[in-house]
Symmetry: C2
């Protein structure tokens, strides 16, 4: 090792889910939406004035923030936007979790939480989910430097109700409580109504799932003016212009089309409910998903075996080789055609076995 | 102050240059390119398959990295890309400056360096430029935890030659040396030829100036595989997908059009050289700019007075109320028409006075 290398930050990198690229593949491994973004997005790109690209974008992504404000009836000063909810959550970790006390989050949840805690040197403690993969709210009544919960949780797909979330927020008014609602639009109950009561609450959402715009990288947080302005101060000390012009313009455009948004969600939910029934008949069980994915286990065939078999058919689902959940598969809800192919392959394999 | 607020990171926010928005304004304050991006960028946006936006973008921005690799003849493993060079530099600060010894940079330079140092708690020491605003290479021969130099420097516009830069890199092989080449394409000599000799060197460039794509947010760094992989490990622990799909596609497209790139630079440089002559006749002096801006002072009229006067004419330039440079204006090179209007207003004012 040379001397200059001693000054490098050495960190075990987070490994993102694989992005296979076969022409015939069925990609059900990263919880993307199988439907395209709202038609207005295509129109916006087609008509985009490229001379605008020579200029720096508005540092506050004003147009996008104003449209979020209009849609959610929340003042612009209470909205933070970033490059995907990962950027938003990363900034929140850097800004809001500066206590010496550990922050709390479930042992089974979005796998980036402990990565950010390590990166920003935030002490943390994971709190085990119960046997049914449910959060126990009583476990969040101890001293902490902050709390972050995904609701619905991932990869479990389970949503908790508003009273449940309020109980945790209400009992933790000495620290910032973050509710990560990446999947909320598929059937969960958002914590947004609590925002007016709790200044220490942050609600984070994304365009990557329900709005079919994972490729555009747009995430946002709602909170009190106090906490949002603190996050912006840190963000502005890192990079003043994170949202590029196409993201701002297309993001605002997508928000306007409420009807298309609800139509797509309706389709995903209908497919999900049908697939639940069919998977049950094949011997699978799973928590009652309120997301765009299912977290399934089979009565007799190990998850890893099914994962490998599906891969061979170019059907990609997610398998976590992690204690407690290593007999589960996380399967994204795709189109009906994609799910039919999945069910057909599963039927064929389970029947032969 | 409530208890939860005690866990917030309090930081004085960096204030980005103003983004005025008058229909008749002449915007010469943020060093943007007055010409639109390469025609291929408009075509790419027009034909963009929006169904691709539902998917996460390639986490390594492969297409863009491969095109950078082809254009600059540097292996893809030696290229890091980010959301503007601010993102790239921020990641470098987080990754490469982890020594207890202070990093070094000039007292007058890009104003984000000390902001990042504070944000990431990197000890730093600023080194005064000489009276002519030149870097003294002898000053960089003391112990340090890293060095960052903008070349050409901003807001001074002065470029140092390759031997000068090599002297600093060569004498500092125990720490990472970063050369921030945001303005290099307008006439400076890049440090890229040094990359094969020094594993501890990083060269950072951007699409925001010479490629007319500030609105797209694309920056990149070239370095050894060792240092680039360390930066990616930190980046992947923060956010796996920072470059959105339009940036990747349009960035790659812009790089392909070498001819248009050179044509635009030629126009900016020709305008700059002409404006230099005309400003000299009006009593201005300035270092010999190798950038797309001029750093000017007037023999009799204070810079702040000129700044205010130009503002009233909706001509926006940059004025820094900072010791040593508070009698200077930083003026971006716009189109000939824009610069003629600037010269006309200056002539009118200086003549009347």
């Amino acid at each position: 090792m040379q001397n200059w290398e001693k000054n490098l930050r050495e960190i075990t990198p987070y490994v993102p889910g694989e992005q296979p690229d076969f022409p015939d593949m069925i990609k059900l491994n990263t919880n993307e939406n199988p439907y395209p973004p709202a038609p207005g997005v295509a129109a916006m790109l087609k008509e985009m004035k490229t001379e605008k690209l020579s200029l720096y974008p508005n540092p506050c992504a004003k147009l996008l923030v104003n449209e979020l404000s209009a849609q959610y009836k929340i003042a612009p000063e209470r909205i933070f936007v970033g490059v995907g909810s990962d950027d938003v959550l990363g900034m929140i970790f850097m800004t809001c979790f500066c206590s010496d006390k550990p922050i709390l989050f479930p042992d089974i949840t979005y796998s980036f939480y402990d990565v950010w805690a390590k990166l920003f040197r935030v002490p943390y403690e994971t709190v085990p989910l119960d046997k049914e993969f449910r959060i126990r709210k009583e476990d969040y009544r101890k001293e902490n430097g902050g709390i972050i919960l995904a609701n619905p949780n991932a990869p479990t797909s389970i949503a908790e109700g508003l009273d449940f979330i309020e109980d945790i927020v209400q009992r933790n008014q000495d620290s910032v409580v973050v509710v990560d609602e990446a999947y909320i639009d598929f059937g969960g109950e958002s914590a947004l109504p609590l925002l007016d009561k709790y200044e220490n609450l942050l609600v984070v959402q994304t365009f990557s799932k329900s709005r079919s715009m994972a490729g555009m990288r747009i995430g946002y947080a709602f909170g009190s003016e106090r906490v949002i302005s603190a996050i912006y101060a840190v963000r502005n000390s890192y990079n003043s212009y994170t949202m590029n012009y196409p993201s701002i313009m297309c993001g605002a455009e997508a928000l306007k089309d409420r009807e298309y948004f609800e139509e797509c969600i309706g389709k995903v939910v209908a497919t999900r409910e049908r697939v639940k029934r069919e998977l049950r008949e094949l011997g699978f069980s799973f928590p009652d998903s309120k997301t765009n994915f299912l977290f399934v286990t089979h009565e007799s065939v190990p998850a890893e075996e099914l994962f490998t078999m599906l891969r061979e058919h170019h059907i990609f689902v997610r398998y976590f080789k992690t204690p407690r959940i290593d007999n589960y598969l996380r399967i994204t809800i795709g189109t009906d055609t994609q799910m039919n192919r999945l069910l057909e392959v599963l039927k064929g394999y389970l029947g032969k076995r």
